[in-house]
């Protein structure tokens, strides 16, 4: 109608919907290739690639332990300690009424023991508490870092009830055997004793340490933290022997006890007078390393606990699943994905052209779809790694995107004629209505997958949801504007 054909192009570019789309395309290209400079990575730029495109291995671990909720009339700590003795297993009371049991037991076995000790079992789940999971994650991260692996992701998979059932390691560029070694490998822990000046002598190795407790305050409530550990019989003898031979019992301050992990000192302190006196006569199996007061003391105690375990995990783990993709095959998958994407786009172009026979419609449609994919990839560089499943999601979302552009087009150009501005807006809004509902259902349908941690399906769901949102909010309104401007310029249509 009153559409100003001259300068219509510029006007269209200035429309905020179109402008936002173009700005986002530029932003995305910059994110993928320029900041940080990603051209050197080739075609994929700064995109985060999953293992199946990059090559590498993953291992998912489950825990040989349970988390239970219990009831008792007693003091929970006293009760928990007794349960630990009865089961002959390490237990960890991480909430008033929740206990982590660090050995495999069935629900029936535990129920019996709880009842025998005057309590009852309320819930039972395989897994570990969040605290333990974080600790395991930290230990694994340390191990991975020590091996200098360039790209590693370690995620705990925790349910809504706060029980962590799995921990997943993804190690790029590492084969499965190496990955298994990383999980199983332990460091070399050693206790040495200071002799004269900087000299020291070997006392015992990590195999003489029978068990290690979580950080505790001693005396309770004093805010002075430390880690208790117990030695084997042989270890205790060696410890007593060394303390007496080198004079630590008579002059503790001159002969500090040092703990080393992989030949680096991680802790050093002198014997306390009481222990020194005791060691003069008998071997002591229960020892305690005090780290200090307050928050800092606690943190040091946590680190020391990990060191004492020498990289061994506090809970036995089992491999729940694992996988590996060679770098060569990853590269092949990458090439195939790109080919699939390009061919799918071309197929869409041909089909749309077949139906409409109108370049003025087909070009903006394909242009919009390309813009949509670029924006999706650009945003994905920040939040989601791309693996094969998410690439399938990307192509699937390309399908729905085109669907919706077809809805807009057919709605707007009724019987081959471009309507007046008012009618156009009315129809366009009607089309957007259909699209909104469709988008809403797709997002809802994908939401459970995005929230649950079903391995690589999360990527598929997140990419799909993201794609639908970008389409509805950004690219489809812009397309509506563009197609209007182009069609109203065509002579003889109104």
């Amino acid at each position: 109608m009153s559409d100003d054909t001259e300068g219509g192009f510029v006007k269209t570019l200035k429309d905020w919907r179109v402008a936002v789309m173009l700005i986002l395309v530029v932003f995305s290209l910059v994110s993928i290739y320029v900041i940080p400079p990603g051209i050197s990575n080739g075609m994929t730029g700064n995109l985060q690639l999953g293992l199946d495109l990059e090559g590498g291995s993953w291992i998912q671990l489950s825990f040989q332990s349970e988390v239970v909720r219990f009831e008792t009339d007693e003091n929970p700590e006293v009760f928990a300690a007794r349960i630990g003795d009865a089961l002959d297993a390490e237990v960890f009371l991480f909430e008033e009424d929740r206990l982590e049991i660090r050995a495999p037991f069935t629900r029936e076995e535990l129920e019996l023991v709880f009842v025998e000790n005057g309590g009852s079992l309320v819930t039972y789940e395989n897994g570990v508490s969040k605290d333990t999971a974080d600790q395991i994650k930290l230990i694994l991260e340390n191990k991975v870092n020590n091996l200098g692996t360039k790209d590693a992701r370690i995620n705990t998979i925790t349910g809504l009830n706060g029980v962590t059932q799995y921990i997943r390691l993804e190690l790029a560029g590492v084969d499965i055997t190496t990955a298994q070694e990383i999980v199983g490998a332990q460091g070399k822990f050693e206790i040495r004793i200071q002799t004269i000046g900087n000299e020291s002598e070997h006392v015992l190795y990590g195999d003489s340490i029978k068990s290690v407790s979580t950080p505790t305050q001693s005396p309770p409530g004093s805010d002075v933290w430390g880690v208790g550990f117990s030695l084997t019989e042989g270890g205790a003898d060696a410890f007593q022997d060394a303390a007496n031979t080198y004079g630590a019992t008579s002059n503790p301050d001159a002969h500090e006890i040092m703990m080393l992990l992989d030949d680096e000192i991680v802790y050093s302190a002198s014997l306390n007078p009481q222990l020194a006196a005791e060691l003069k006569t008998i071997p002591v199996r229960e020892l305690r390393a005090t780290t200090g007061a307050g928050e800092e003391g606690l943190e040091d105690a946590q680190k020391l606990e990990i060191h004492l375990r020498a990289g061994a995990l506090p809970v036995d783990v089992e491999i729940a699943g694992s996988g590996t993709v060679s770098a060569t095959l990853g590269e092949h998958f990458k090439v195939m994905s790109v080919i699939a994407g390009i061919l799918a786009l071309m197929a869409v172009a041909v089909t749309v052209y077949y139906w409409y026979r109108e370049p003025a419609i087909v070009l903006p449609m394909i242009g919009t779809t390309i813009a949509e994919i670029i924006i999706l990839l650009g945003i994905a560089t920040y939040i989601q790694q791309l693996d094969l499943a998410s690439i399938a999601g990307l192509i699937a979302v390309l399908g729905t995107g085109i669907d919706q552009l077809v809805v807009i087009t057919d709605e707007v150009i009724h019987e081959g004629r471009v309507p007046s501005q008012n009618l156009y807006l009315k129809r366009f809004n009607r089309a957007l209505g259909i699209i909104m509902v469709a988008a809403c259902t797709t997002v809802i349908a994908m939401l459970p997958l995005a929230v649950m941690d079903l391995a690589n399906l999360r990527g598929f769901a997140i990419i799909t949801i993201l794609g639908v949102l970008i389409g509805v909010i950004i690219t489809r309104p812009a397309y509506g504007k563009v197609i209007m401007a182009i069609l109203s310029k065509k002579p003889g249509d109104h």
Binding site: D52, L343, A392, V437, T442, P448, L449
Partner: protein
Amino acid sequence: MKFPTYDISKYTVRQLLALPIALLIVSFLFLGFNTFTTGMPVDPGIDFAGGVAVTIPPTADSQAVVEGYFAGYPLKSVGEGVNGGYYVVFEYMADEDFMSLSEVISEHYPDAKVDQIGETFGKTLQAQALWALLFSFIGMALVVFIVFRNFVPSIAVVLSAFSDIVITAALMDIVGITLTLGTTAALLMLIGYSVDSDILLTTRVLKRKGKFSEKMQGAFRTGFTMTSTTISAVFLMFVVSWIGQVDVIRDISAVLLLGLFVDLMNTWMLNAGILTGYAGGDKR
């Protein structure tokens, strides 16, 4: 434009509904029978059943040679790719056996892709996938009911989405695609595709003025353009991943492809039929 003409008003409601309803019932019984005999509606892949899957890149070895290498292990199936590669599946095995299998694989096919899922982990995934499917479906149904606030048309949309999933799942089992995490995602994606065309149809037919048969015809043109375009994209994704032996994408696209054809039938026969019965056609 050479458009297939499909004049829905030529057919009676009964004619429109017969085929989709019959297929839905047959598929439902088929899946029910499977569940009853094997515990799963569709043959589960290693993601859910536990086991080991190995993708071997193109090799000169014959199938017999490949099978020979793995003779001592619980081999479940060996599939040959068009590019000369293989896709080998093993039943669940103990950790020690898997370790030695890993060695055999890396000795003969160092570039293979290997995935191993434990039995318990598979069970966990199975339960979660089931929940995901249930939540998705309920969420979708809620949106549809809220939007239309009208019982019959909403039920028509929900029923045809349900039918899409059921018939596609049955077809999957027949053509030998296993239920994996990827194919579960594809089934969920079908909910999105299905609702897309159904909502277009329902909105056009119920919320517009005009002659019923013309509105139906118009909706069909748009709907068919939509679905055929999506089919062409998914079809190429399938061909490339099939030739290139990208099994994750191949399975997802195969399921989407089956589902899109099923959806054409369900939208333009089942859903259109119910709407014709509901809106009374052209008051002939």
